[in-house]
Structures are given as C-alpha cells and as structure tokens.
C-alpha cells in the first residue's frame, strides 16, 4: 500500500474498480460528501472486495465495540463497576454481566482486580459498557484474572501482531515455558507462568517483539530458553 497523511483525498484509489457496488471504509478513513478523506497517517490497505482502511501505529486505545479488553476495576458505583480500560473515560461493567450472577448472587469483584471483558457498547458519544459473558451466557474465558500474573502495556500494533495467525511468538515461547495469557485489544497483556522469573521473561519477550520479524523472534526465544535453563 501507499503511505498517506491526514487530509489526502483517496477517492481516485477507492473507486478504481467500476464493477464494485459497495465500498467499505475502515479505521482512518472518512467520507465527506464526494471526498474520501484520510484522517490518520499510515499505510493504505485494501482487502477485496472493496474494504479500505489505514494501518496506523498508535499507543492510545479508542473503544471499539466487540473488542476484548483488559481492565482494572476502579470502584463500585451503584449496580455497576467502574473499570479503567485506557480510554479517556472509565467504562462500566454491570453486576449481572457475569456467568451465574443474579441479584442475590453477586460476583466477587473488588477494586484493583484485573478483568478480561468484551466491549458491548462503545461509541464516542456514550460511556463504554463491558460484559464478562458471551451471548450464550457463558464465561468464555472472561472475568476476573487472578492467581498472580503480570499485566503490562504494549503499543496497539504489537497486540495486533501478537494475535496475527502468522505470528510465531506465542507458540515458540510456549514450547519452553508453559504459560497463560490474556491479550486485550486496548494494548494490555496479562501473562502468568510458573514462577516470577518466567513471567517477567515472557513480558520482556512480548515487549521486545514490537519491531522483530518472525526469524528474529525465533532467535530471541531460543536465547531466552537458554538463559532460563541456566546457560
């Protein structure tokens, strides 16, 4: 793709294919009357048929509906928990949005807990709402993450790279160090391994993989395995 800056009009690139009936504009693009304006700088990408978006690197998260995010519980407010997910205002998480929660049976969530949840409502005009339950009413891996572990911040593009099916980082690390991981689309990652040393090692590996290719990642993982084994 080509690199574009804010204010560029990419209409000429977008209606190139005359037979396309529908053009979908993803993140970073905005339609203004007849023009298609770029509002974030980065690489212009397309996916057939007719999906265009800007691949831009950022550190600060803006809430998107459907994202799985890691949050920290700030406190209780009536029937809701206030959860910090790294956006400009805290999100809210209802008491009843947990598996098996009823008015009599409240979930065991305290301020300071790390929660893995899904964004149900996220628009720029409204407060974001989280849920810890899927549409079948099951937990699906969400909820309070406890038993130790470390949560740390990474840039958003690193998270997307981690979750990419072509990425070898998690599988290579897992060969030597068994671990549990929760990846939040808000740039937060939670890992837990058997010991503190291994947990820190995993966190460092994920942070350093930001600018590495798959080959460099594999070299780094084998070096880490050697160090942990004591060589």
């Amino acid at each position: 793709g080509s690199v574009v800056v804010p204010g560029d009009d990419i209409r000429s690139l977008v209606d190139l294919e005359k037979e396309q009936k529908q053009v979908i504009l993803g993140p970073g693009l905005r339609r203004e009357g007849e023009r298609v304006l770029v509002i974030k700088p980065g690489l212009l990408r397309r996916k057939d048929p007719g999906v265009f978006w800007i691949d831009s690197h950022a550190k600060r998260y803006v809430a998107q509906r459907g994202d799985n995010v890691l949050g920290v519980v700030l406190g209780k407010a009536g029937d809701m928990f206030r959860v910090d997910i790294g956006t400009s205002e805290p999100a809210c998480l209802s008491y009843l949005a947990f598996e098996g929660a009823t008015k009599k049976n409240r979930p065991n969530v305290n301020p300071g807990d790390v929660v893995y949840s899904k964004l149900l409502v996220a628009s720029r005009d409204m407060e974001a709402e989280l849920v810890c339950v899927d549409s079948y009413g099951k937990k699906a891996g969400m909820g309070v993450l406890d038993g130790g572990g470390l949560m740390f911040n990474v840039p958003l593009h690193t998270v997307r790279k981690l979750l990419n099916p072509d990425s070898v980082l998690l599988t290579t690390l897992g060969k030597n160090i068994p671990f549990e991981i929760a990846v939040g689309m808000n740039g937060r990652v939670w890992v837990r391994a058997r010991s503190v040393k291994e947990t820190i090692c995993l966190a460092n590996a994920i942070e350093c993989s930001e600018y590495m290719t798959n080959q460099q990642i594999q070299a780094m993982c084998s070096k880490l395995a050697d160090v942990l084994a004591g060589f």
């Binding site: 690199v3 800056v5 804010p6 204010g7 560029d8 304006l37 509002i39 974030k40 700088p41 980065g42 690489l43 831009s56 690197h57 950022a58 550190k59 600060r60 803006v62 956006t87 400009s88 205002e89 720029r124 005009d125 593009h157 790279k161 990419n164 072509d166 990425s167 930001e210 600018y211 590495m212 290719t213 798959n214």
Partner: protein, 224 residues
C-alpha cells in the same frame, strides 16, 4: 542574487531534520528543526478532561529551553498554536476528552522560525500519536529584506536586519492556516510573500510526508 550569510540563495530553506516517536512515555512525539532552530513536541491524548466539556479540549503548553512556561511570549505562542491546531485536529471525533500538547523550544533565538518549527513538530507528533486530523499543516518563515526581495527561512541574526518577517502555515489543500507578521510591509509585499510562503510550505509538507513514509516503511518490514 548574492549569497546570504551561510551561502544560501534567497529561495533556499535551511536543511530540515525531523524524527518521530522519540519520547517513551508520550502517546506521540516528534522533533523538527530548520538547521539549529529546533522544537520538540509531546502529545498525550485523548485523555480524561480536567473540566467536563461537551467538545474535545485542546491544551497547548510551550516551554522555552530555560524552563520558562508562563512568560507572555510563551503564552502567546501557545495561544497561536492552539488556534491553528483546533482547526486541524478532528475534535468532533473524540468528544468529552482532552488532548495535551507540550512544546519545548530547543533554541532561544529566532522567534518566527521557532513558531514555524513548533507547528511542524506538533504536526509530526500528532501523526506519530495517531490522533485523528482532517489536514496536514506545515509552516515556514519568510522575510522581506531592505531591497524588497523575499528571503526564505532567515536565520536568527539575519532576521534582525530584515524589513519585515512573516511565518506562514499552509495545509495540504493549499489553504492558509496562519500568518504571523512583524515589521513594515505593504499589501504587495504580503501578496508576494503569501505566494512564496505557500510554495515553501508545500516543500516542507513534502519533507514531512517523506518522514512519515520512512517510518511507515520501517514499521512495515516487521509486520507479518
């Protein structure tokens, strides 16, 4: 045309240098310099606003190299920068939030060239942070010397001997965003310097586009 104090011709800018993503804690950062006139910018946002607002808030702070934050010149520079960038940042896109811009002027001399460097540094930092903007602006300093000739990007000492000095900011749709002037000049002087300013800003925009492209290409190499 005779050469100027550093061998440049009237229509030559000083060498520009820029880098993005240099500050670790900031959401976006950039440094831009016209030779030694350099400005460093850090962006934090969108953040929780300190006072509840319906629209998004833009806060600009300017710090001089000696650490002065609240002197009249830094406050007026901050107000000018805020005016420009309120029209550039897509504020309706992120309501009820705040964007904090902190500019550090890394040299003392050349107030007009510093204004230009600050605008460019803020723009590059906004692009580094991924803040939604509707345009890309670039700024350049233009002077008119005692012979009435337009002189591009005067140095600090050179600026003292000019009849008038102006800083222009244009965007990538060739619209003017700012004119900041000082000295004696006629309407004709203003017309000529506006045309030259627009052309010079286009050159600086091209340079900024290169900076963004190089960073994107380096980032792309390690994508999967």
């Amino acid at each position: 045309m005779s050469a100027r104090y550093d061998g440049r011709m009237n229509n030559q800018l000083r060498p520009q240098k820029a880098s993005q993503g240099i500050l670790f804690k900031a959401d976006g950062s950039a440094r831009f310099s016209f030779d030694k006139t350099s400005a460093l910018c850090a962006i934090h946002g969108p953040l929780e606003p300190r006072y509840p607002t319906v629209n998004s808030n833009l806060i600009v702070r300017v710090i001089t190299s000696s650490g002065s934050l609240t002197s009249p010149s830094t406050m007026s520079l901050a107000a000018t920068l805020r005016r420009i960038f309120s029209n550039v940042i897509h504020l309706p896109f992120q309501p009820r939030s705040e964007i904090q811009v902190a500019v550090t002027l890394e040299s003392d001399l050349g107030e007009f060239a510093l204004l230009a460097s600050s605008v460019n540094a803020i723009m590059l930092a906004l692009m580094d942070a991924g803040v939604a903007c509707t345009k890309t602006v670039a700024a350049v300093c233009i002077g008119i010397n005692r012979e009435g000739k337009v002189v591009l990007d005067p140095g600090a000492e050179e600026a003292k001997g000019l009849k008038s000095i102006h800083t222009f900011a244009f965007d990538n749709h060739d619209k003017s965003h700012m004119v900041f002037s000082s000295g004696e000049f006629t309407l004709n002087d203003m017309k000529i310097s506006t045309v030259t300013g627009g052309a010079a800003c286009r050159m600086v925009l091209g340079f900024m586009r290169n900076v963004v492209t190089q960073k994107a290409e380096r980032d792309q190499k390690c994508l999967l």
